[in-house]
Symmetry: C2
Subunit: 418 residues, 2 copies
């Protein structure tokens, strides 16, 4: 079998599995998730032995320390996967929920009901725990899943998938509900992206390069997360101590993640009062500052920012700062340079707040809070398959509901169309 045939067979099997999954009760799905958790625990030594193969190959291939760290399945990380499975079992199952119901004058009753999407492909890079997390969320929502991980984690991914399959099977999980593509051939991704007969959705998880490649190759709908170029805007009516605290948190609390602030915007009337102390706070935290002319006047250590800085997702302790004329200019800057992820205004003025919240075209818009809250857990969704910067069909943090679609169920008593 060549790669194409192999992947198409996986797709065909996944479609069949998705039909069987649609019939499972929530109780049964939860029992299967628990059985997966137990099997993962029982297979800990095997999983770690397989993980060691990947780590050794990675060292030989010259992976850097950060990549090797992402790859490693410590006991704590395996515990994390096991806990993750149990957490997902506890979450309420959206499948079958009624979104709305109405009656037509001719007596037809129309119900809009949540249903699984069908077959979901997850294309990811080096973190092997994605295998478990993503498969659990897809399974809980009765979607069949096809996982394609990075080649550097192939042994680990196969070991985790095997434990989930074996654990689940013992409790009646349909065959092929969770499949991991065993080949590391790059052709496999291309075939996945084009098998519209079997795949309903692809969620790529990884760097911008991976996501761009998948989007350009794909005829299957893709929900993607490109970048997080997040802004905080300090308005003319800002409570400045609140602004300092929020900006420090948004930049420094965890700078390497997508909801961290990359650009700080400051109303011109507050620049003189706000910037010097902000500069001190950020310098003390070791943040490199790049600003426009006004910023450089108030913060001696700031370097001049270039046009590229406004486009940059630093993901490290660097911050671009710009002074703007008013809330409209802040909105225009964000809509031009932002990535539609998370943006905040700090203000006590209702009008500025209203303008900002209505006009900033991002998935999460904040007033008087840190952008660091954009996250499935922080939003109370319980679990997260990712954060979407797309508009269709899921936007922002994606939990279980975002892994479903809907159908219309129409009940009649023999109505025909006149």
């Amino acid at each position: 079998m060549d790669v194409k045939e192999q992947i198409l067979k996986i797709g065909e099997d996944a479609l069949a599995a998705s039909r069987a999954l649609a019939k499972l009760s929530t109780r049964k799905k939860n029992a299967i998730l628990e059985a997966m958790a137990e099997e993962l625990d029982a297979q800990r030594a095997f999983i770690q032995a397989e993980n060691t193969k990947d780590l050794e190959a990675g060292k030989e291939a010259g992976l850097n320390v950060a990549m090797l760290d992402r790859l490693e399945l410590t006991d704590a990380r395996i515990d994390g996967m096991i806990k993750g499975l149990r957490d997902v079992a506890v979450l309420s199952d959206p499948v079958g929920n009624e979104i709305s119901t109405w009656n037509r004058p001719n007596g037809l009753e129309i119900r809009k009901i949540r249903v699984p999407i069908g077959v979901i492909g997850i294309i990811f890079e080096s973190r092997p725990n994605v295998t478990c997390d993503a498969a659990a969320l897809c399974f809980k929502t009765s979607n069949a899943v096809i996982l394609r991980g990075g080649k550097e984690a192939i042994h680990s991914n196969l070991a985790i998938a095997k434990a989930m399959q074996n654990g689940g099977k013992a409790k009646g999980m349909p065959d092929n509900a969770i499949q991991l593509i065993p080949t590391t051939d790059r052709e496999a991704v291309k075939v996945m992206c084009q098998m519209t007969d079997y795949l309903d959705l692809i969620i790529p998880r990884g760097g911008e390069g991976l996501i761009k490649a998948v989007t350009e190759m794909s005829h299957v709908p893709v929900i993607k997360h490109y970048k997080g170029i997040c802004h905080t805007y300090i308005d003319a009516a800002a409570d400045l101590p609140m602004g300092w605290k929020i900006a420090e948190n948004a930049k420094c609390q965890r700078p390497g993640v997508c909801n961290a602030m990359e650009t700080l915007l400051v109303h011109k009337d507050k620049a003189a009062e706000f910037l010097p102390k902000m500069g001190e706070i950020l310098e003390a935290r070791g943040v490199e500052l790049r600003g426009d002319e006004t910023v450089c006047r108030y913060i001696a250590s700031a370097k001049p920012a270039t046009e590229e800085d406004w486009h940059e997702e630093y993901l490290e302790m660097i911050l671009a700062i710009r002074v703007v004329d008013d809330v409209d200019a802040a909105v225009a800057h964000i809509n031009k340079y932002g990535s539609g992820h998370s943006d905040a205004i700090v203000t006590q003025d209702e009008k500025a707040e209203k303008t900002f919240l209505a006009e900033v075209d991002s998935s999460s818009v904040y007033v008087n809070a840190s952008t660091r809250f954009t996250d499935g857990a922080e939003f109370g969704m319980g679990a997260e398959i990712g954060i979407s910067t797309d508009k269709l069909h899921a936007r922002g943090p994606m939990g279980l509901e975002e892994l479903t679609t809907y159908k219309f169920v129409i009940e009649g008593k023999g109505q025909i169309r006149e």
Copy 2:
């Protein structure tokens, strides 16, 4: 300017328009729709003169009678467009509606709010009234729209778009909110399909060839409507007179549309009783019947069906009929050969009903009613931009809500992430 530059400029202008549209009040949008209706009426002679150019060119190019009919803008059709604009003005505006609201333990208030999608591309074929209908729905939901119609209707489309633009502009419609691509160069479609910086969504409307081409070319998300291979299944527990009536209606009331029945499935225990009379009824209506062996035994005039017949969207007075063992076999047939559009079961048995409604993976599933009801107006949506056989993000009839997405609005009092 070459075609690519021309289309990219249109995209850039549409994006700017979408920012302005997001600020319009519902009242203002409705006044603009009314002004468009008035201008369309005022420009009736001009529109019809331009339409005559298309009709003459069409005759010369050898278009058939049906195509020429679709192209023609009679007074009644112009009245229809004018009424359509006024109907859309009356519909409630989903933009700004709260989908849900909740509070987090840390005091953050999270609201999920409906917002416009942004810029929508409509690629359509020869019916010029789509220009008006689609633009009105996009405008009402504060989306900028880029229309690309068929070359045979170019004069008509430009005349309609011009009337809408002039009418709207007089009442404050933002520039470039509604744009029609003036060139008929095919390259324009390709550029549209790949301008992900400006377009958020493409809705192709037309035959399967157009839709396939757009889907394969597009890097922009596409919501599409491929085919309607709709089924009616007569269960063992069917009320037979109801079954005869529903099947006749689903096939004959308007056979050329997507929600008409193409295949009739009959439980084997009811075949002897149901089929002969069904055959008589359909023959009397002039329907050509193609059936499996059992069907041909009970209906003398039926021709033997081939595998291709189960895949066929006839869109005319032809019907495929198959006898199946039980509801599970009916579901399996529909999920294999159907197009995810509309399928019905006729039964008085709750268990069969439940199985069918849960397991048939179509956007609209019916019990004891004709599939002909799948339609925005029949569902009470007031207007319809199309019927989606996709799963993301809109499924089934699409009204105004389906032209929106959402954003999360988070209000705090200075919360930072610990």
